[in-house]
């Protein structure tokens, strides 16, 4: 085998080893810069992360405030609706009482008319007086009450 092939291959291997030595030596020589840069990178990352965390907290706080405001509005609406419902129930109760009273009045009037109609002393004039009809011959005014 040619010597130049051996030299070429050995040289390529030696080049690789030499390159590695240069890289490691430079790393060692610049260890101060490397350390400082690493600390800067860590600090920058921590700073950026803390900014992100603060932004997240601010966003969460804003969301919570909006949610509380929305809940307050809903509570107010619910309270108004409850008041309105109570008013409507009171109104309905009052109307029911009135209707019952009117029904009792009507029933009383009906009994009065029925008693007057079925009375053995009932006269046409008296019945006319009951219904508010004075009669066609003007005699109703002369009817004497019982």
């Amino acid at each position: 085998m040619n010597n130049w092939v051996s030299a070429l291959l050995g040289g390529s291997f030696g080049g690789g080893v030499l390159g590695a030595i240069v890289v490691l030596a430079r790393l060692y020589a610049n260890r101060g810069i490397v350390k400082a840069t690493t600390e800067q990178l860590k600090a920058a990352a921590a700073d950026r992360l803390s900014d992100t965390a603060a932004e997240m907290v601010r966003q969460i706080r804003e969301d919570a405030r909006a949610e509380i405001a929305r809940a307050r509005v809903e509570v107010t609406q619910a309270r108004d609706e409850a008041v309105q419902a109570r008013q409507e129930a009171s109104e309905a109760r009052r109307e029911a009482t009135e209707a019952r009273r009117e029904a009792m009045d009507a029933n009383r009037e009906f009994r009065r008319l029925k008693t007057a109609i079925l009375s053995p002393y009932a006269t046409v004039e008296r019945l006319r007086e009951l219904v508010g009809d004075p009669g066609s011959n003007g005699t109703a005014a002369a009817v004497a009450p019982h």
């Binding site: 092939v5 291959l9 390529s12 291997f13 030696g14 690789g16 590695a20 490691l24 690493t38 920058a44």
Partner: protein
């Protein structure tokens, strides 16, 4: 402290590279301890260089794995990896070139794989150089 942009290095763990680095450790150990050296290499270079090549394989694999799993400074990790890949590239050029020198075209497949591995190492070294440059000069 002045504000500086955060540089995110996203490509530290690469399975092909890690497996080949591990293979380098095992091959280096094997050739140093028990396994006879590759015939092509033994035919081309002297015995001491074969031994050095085995040591190179072992060291490059160990150094590369150390850099890949380094949990300290990212710059140190990258530089360890670059140094390992440079040694590995030299070792691969040596064995790949020896294969072609001895077997000619019959070494096309194996030799090409070995040389491709070396070229990939060089590309990775360039990547590391760019990353470290960005880290040191944001």
């Amino acid at each position: 402290m002045p504000q500086r942009p955060v540089v995110v290095v996203t490509s530290r763990q690469r399975p092909h590279e890690l497996v080949l680095l591990l293979a380098s450790v095992l091959l280096g150990l094997g050739y140093l301890l028990t396994v006879p050296p590759p015939q092509s290499l033994a035919a081309v270079v002297p015995a001491w260089l074969v031994t050095t090549w085995s040591v190179g394989l072992l060291l490059s694999g160990a150094l590369g794995l150390l850099g890949a799993f380094w949990r300290g400074s990212i710059l140190v990790a990258l530089e360890l990896e670059r140094a390992a890949l440079l040694v590995s590239t030299g070792a691969l050029l040596l064995i790949g070139g020896a294969s072609f020198a001895v077997a000619g075209w019959r070494a096309l497949f194996g030799g090409s794989i070995i040389l491709a591995w070396g070229v990939a190492n060089i590309v990775r070294c360039v990547q590391i150089g760019q990353d470290t440059h960005k880290l040191l000069n944001p």
